[in-house]
């Protein structure tokens, strides 16, 4: 089936088999390698992508479902605030979970400019990290919020 969608701002038209997962299509066919597979079952969040502003597990989505959608991955992030906050806060160790966390954080901050600890935890519950113990990840999200607020103060 021929699908047409926007990937990180670029128009893509491609023929895809109907059974192919969005995860495999984006990685193997389009080379979007920030998307990771940790479980293939919607449990770990390493494959998280933003579809029309919502965070989605791309391992549970079919490529054909991308038709007409707008997809964002960390490759397409022009604003590096969240990424910088993750590095700054020490929220990255092995890094395999990181792109997924960054996308989930992006989805959260799109909706909620000033999330509480509880709201951060709620938003990131679907992303697993085995290295950091999560404390620094929560800190990173709060730091990103701070960085954004500082930025808007200046304006």
């Amino acid at each position: 089936m021929i699908i047409k969608f926007k990937l990180n701002g670029k128009e893509i038209v491609k023929d895809v088999p109907v059974h192919k997962r969005a995860l495999d299509f984006l990685r193997d066919d389009l080379g979007v390698l920030s998307i990771k597979e940790g479980c293939g079952e919607g449990e770990c969040g390493a494959c998280t992508i933003l579809v029309d502003g919502k965070n989605i597990h791309s391992c549970l989505m079919l490529a054909v479902e991308l038709d007409g959608k707008e997809v964002l991955t960390v490759e397409g992030l022009k604003d590096k605030t969240i990424q910088n906050a993750f590095v700054e806060a020490g929220a990255i160790q092995c890094g395999f979970c990181t792109p997924g966390f960054i996308i989930s954080t992006k989805a959260l901050l799109n909706e909620n400019k000033n999330p509480s600890s509880e709201e951060i935890k709620e938003a990131l519950e679907g992303n697993l990290c085995r290295c950091t113990g999560y404390l620094k990840i929560e800190e990173a999200v709060k730091l990103a919020v701070k960085m954004y607020n500082k930025g808007s103060d200046k304006k």
Binding site: G90, F96, C97, G133
Partner: protein, 752 residues
């Protein structure tokens, strides 16, 4: 110190944040094939026949390999080669994850389909599924007896201890499996390149293990195999020996097809086939005086090795040495047995056989404190090791013993007396929710020690480019723990170049000498020293040249903050390296570090077990819901004596991650099996901590009792960061419910 111990950003952080770090699955080659694996799926039996014809008929299948295709030695095993790579017809299947055949196909889908078309005939045998059954030795799993290995310590006269004791405690303990659950599953891409070098890109902790093992399987000389460690998404011990078994599969297929072959495990394959933390059963009998002084420890521990020995004999060494905890024990009688069963082979996992017995001895300490009416803090302070004391193996400690300081620090930062009061009051007023406090005080023998000294050397190459940027290659690996940043900090401290001008490369086995495994919390000491030595050599080369060139004394030259001061003139580091390069000064050096020889009597288990020890204390505050059995870790206070903090943020990260992973082990994570088959094979049923399970706070402090052999005095932290957690949490739960916990993971039934 200019940069040692300071807070710095990890050097590989941004690459990971922007998704450009390349993990094994991110390697793609032209004309690449995909591999799949055919498993026995039976816990015990005899392989009678393999039929691959149907698989071959599927279009797109390029090769179906069985044992007959293995050109070298079809065996694995670190201590004894008791595991088949591919099970031969007529031989035994010993666990469900034994491998019968491998497939290479044009796509993942075809490879997976083909795997289902291989049929094998297995005559099933009754499986041995528990330690108790195995000990009967009625059905033999592997070798001549199911008790494959035995280690012991014999010190003093244990019966005297019991005779003189005011209190003798006898307690039994059980611990379950733990799955590493590194977020990146195992995987490798092998490419038998046209010039006949086998290139292997693999997610691994120990590329040199892969090098040697694949050479044996393929019958190739070592200089024809290049193992390149890719970015590695977590290891925790799970990528110590296992990547050999993983990489050998695409390597064989690439060897046979002369095409690149990729094999990335699914989570299910990973959990089914690869190693775990050993389940254990222990019996402890410990003698105390009225004042809490330990007189003697008698213990017997069985570790469930699963179907093959893999690293178990080495794991058992650590179990043995750590059985008495971090205490002075005059009379010691310790036995540790490794037992074969028809289940997944267990191996290395952060702590390496010590968490099982540390849980036991730390529970005993708390129980003794309770019976003797001593505070759990006090009983530890009374018995812990200090300079001049001997460990349970009779190793006299002459320096770098910060054990007491870690206890005192935790006491202080937690405001313990007040906290105790708060918990007491809370519990008096709350009927269904109880708080509990639990201490643990542990030690960790750094690196391989007398159990593996032949592996204890490491190499590093430091190269300064003419523009002043620096490349470092070390033989140990980055897997998330921050090794690259630590190495860059050490080089920066010595050479004065800024951190952002230093990069640390992925190791390649064709470039560097075998540097042993990246395990046992040894990287900072070993690779760190190797980098220190190499950087120092280059610095001497530069100083020698500059002193001649400018006619100044060597002591008039110094390096810091990206600059070089020559008497009173400041140059940038770049200006100096350019000048050096033009004058043929040697700007690349190799550093090699090996440990001083240790003396140990393996028969008696007596001697210098490890080069040094890390000492740690944790206090945990838990909340237990008496009605639902739910346990939450609220807060933890942790202090480690690691000699010297080099990478501050990295060290904090290790402790946070270790505490939470240790919490998973103690209260959440459980492998469920049915007839030897693992049922909990993904994250929907093997439950690891999420952000909601993490404690509100983990307060971390370090003690720096320098270790003279360590780089800048450093010891190791990777594993103790986990090890302090399970006993502390278990003790806190016991404290909350006023009932001794003797089994982890703690289940709901243990509470309600």
């Amino acid at each position: 110190m200019k940069i040692i111990g300071k807070k710095v950003k990890r050097i590989d952080g941004f690459q990971k944040a922007e998704g450009s770090a390349k993990y094994a699955s991110d390697y793609y080659f032209h004309n690449m094939l995909y591999a799949s694996v055919v498993y026995a799926n039976v816990p015990h039996g005899i392989l009678k026949n393999i039929d691959v014809s149907k698989a071959y008929e599927l279009p797109g299948v390029v090769y179906v390999a069985t044992y007959k295709d293995v050109p070298g030695i079809n065996k694995f095993g670190h201590v004894i080669k008791d595991m088949n790579f591919l099970v031969p017809i007529g031989d035994k299947v010993r666990f469900e994850g034994d491998v019968i055949a491998l497939i290479a196909a044009e796509s993942k889908e075809i490879a997976e389909k083909a795997a289902k078309l291989v049929s094998c005939e297995i005559e099933e045998l009754p499986p041995v599924l528990t330690i108790d059954e195995a000990l009967k030795d009625e059905i033999i799993v592997n070798g001549d007896s199911n008790i494959g290995f035995h280690r012991k310590i014999r010190k003093g006269h244990i019966e005297d201890a019991f005779k003189d004791a005011d209190l003798v405690l006898e307690m039994n303990f059980e611990t379950g499996y733990q799955e590493h659950a590194y977020l990146e599953p195992q995987g490798a891409v092998a490419y038998y390149t046209p010039d006949n070098v086998m290139e292997i890109y693999v997610s691994a902790q120990c590329p040199f293990y892969v090098h040697e093992d694949v050479a044996n399987i393929l019958g190739l000389p070592l200089n024809k195999i290049n193992v390149i460690q890719t970015e590695t998404g977590g290891g925790f011990g799970g990528k110590e020996d296992v990547p050999s078994y993983v990489a050998a599969k695409p390597a064989l297929l690439s060897y046979l097809t002369k095409r690149p072959v990729k094999l990335i495990y699914t989570r299910e394959m990973d959990i089914k086939e690869t190693s775990k933390r050993h389940p254990s059963k222990s019996y402890f009998k410990v003698a105390f005086k009225k004042d809490g002084t330990i007189l003697g420890v008698k213990s017997k521990t069985y570790l469930d090795m699963g179907a093959y020995s893999t690293l178990s004999p080495i794991v058992m060494y650590r179990t043995t040495v750590h059985s008495c905890g971090t205490y002075k024990v005059p009379h010691v009688f310790v036995d540790v047995y490794g037992v074969y069963t028809n289940k997944v082979p267990c191996g290395a996992f952060r702590g390496f056989g010590s968490p099982q017995v540390l849980f036991a001895i730390e529970s005993v300490m708390d129980e003794a404190a309770k019976r003797l009416n001593i505070d759990p803090y006090e009983i530890r302070l009374k018995n812990t090791l200090d300079v001049g004391d001997e460990t349970a193996t009779g190793h006299k400690l002459t320096s770098s013993v910060g054990a007491k300081k870690t206890l005192k620090k935790v006491y202080e930062i937690s405001n313990y007396p007040k906290l105790k009061d708060y918990v007491k009051k809370y519990n008096e007023t709350n009927k269904f929710k109880k708080l509990g406090l639990g201490w643990s005080h542990i030690f960790y023998g750094v690196s391989l020690g007398s159990g593996g000294q032949h592996l204890d050397g490491a190499s590093a190459e430091v190269l300064i480019q003419p523009d002043g940027t620096i490349n470092i290659m070390i033989g140990n690996t980055e897997m998330g723990q921050g090794a690259k940043t630590t190495m860059a900090i050490i080089a920066s401290e010595i050479l004065g170049q800024k951190l952002d001008k230093i990069s640390v490369l992925q190791p390649q086995t064709l470039v560097l000498q075998d540097s042993g495994p990246t395990v046992a919390s040894r990287t900072t000491i070993f690779s760190g020293n190797a980098v220190r030595i190499a950087a120092k050599k280059i610095k001497e080369n530069i100083i020698g040249f500059l002193s001649n060139y400018f006619g100044v004394g060597k002591n008039e030259i110094s390096f810091s903050d990206g600059n070089v001061l020559v008497r009173d003139k400041i140059f940038t580091f770049e200006e100096i390296t350019e000048l050096c390069n033009k004058n043929n000064v040697k700007l690349s050096e190799i550093g090699w570090y090996k440990t001083p020889k240790l003396h140990f009597d393996h028969e008696k288990g007596i001697g210098e077990a490890y080069i040094t020890y890390t000492f740690s204390t944790q206090l945990s505050l838990v909340e237990v819901d008496i009605l639902t059995g739910k346990i939450s870790l609220k807060e933890a206070w942790v202090c480690h004596d690691i000699g010297k903090v080099i990478n501050y943020d990295g060290a904090i990260g290790q402790v946070h991650g270790g505490v939470v992973q240790g919490m998973g082990y103690a209260i959440m994570e459980e492998i469920k099996q049915d007839n030897g088959k693992i049922l909990t094979d993904n994250f929907n049923n093997y439950i690891i901590p999420t952000i909601k399970d993490a404690p509100q706070n983990i307060h971390v402090e370090f003690v720096e009792e320098e270790f003279s052999e360590g780089p800048f005095g450093a010891k190791g932290l990777g594993e103790p960061s986990l090890m302090s957690s399970p006993p502390s949490i278990a003790n806190a739960v016991s404290n909350a419910i006023n009932k001794r916990i003797s089994k982890i993971p703690i289940s709901m039934e243990d509470i309600i």
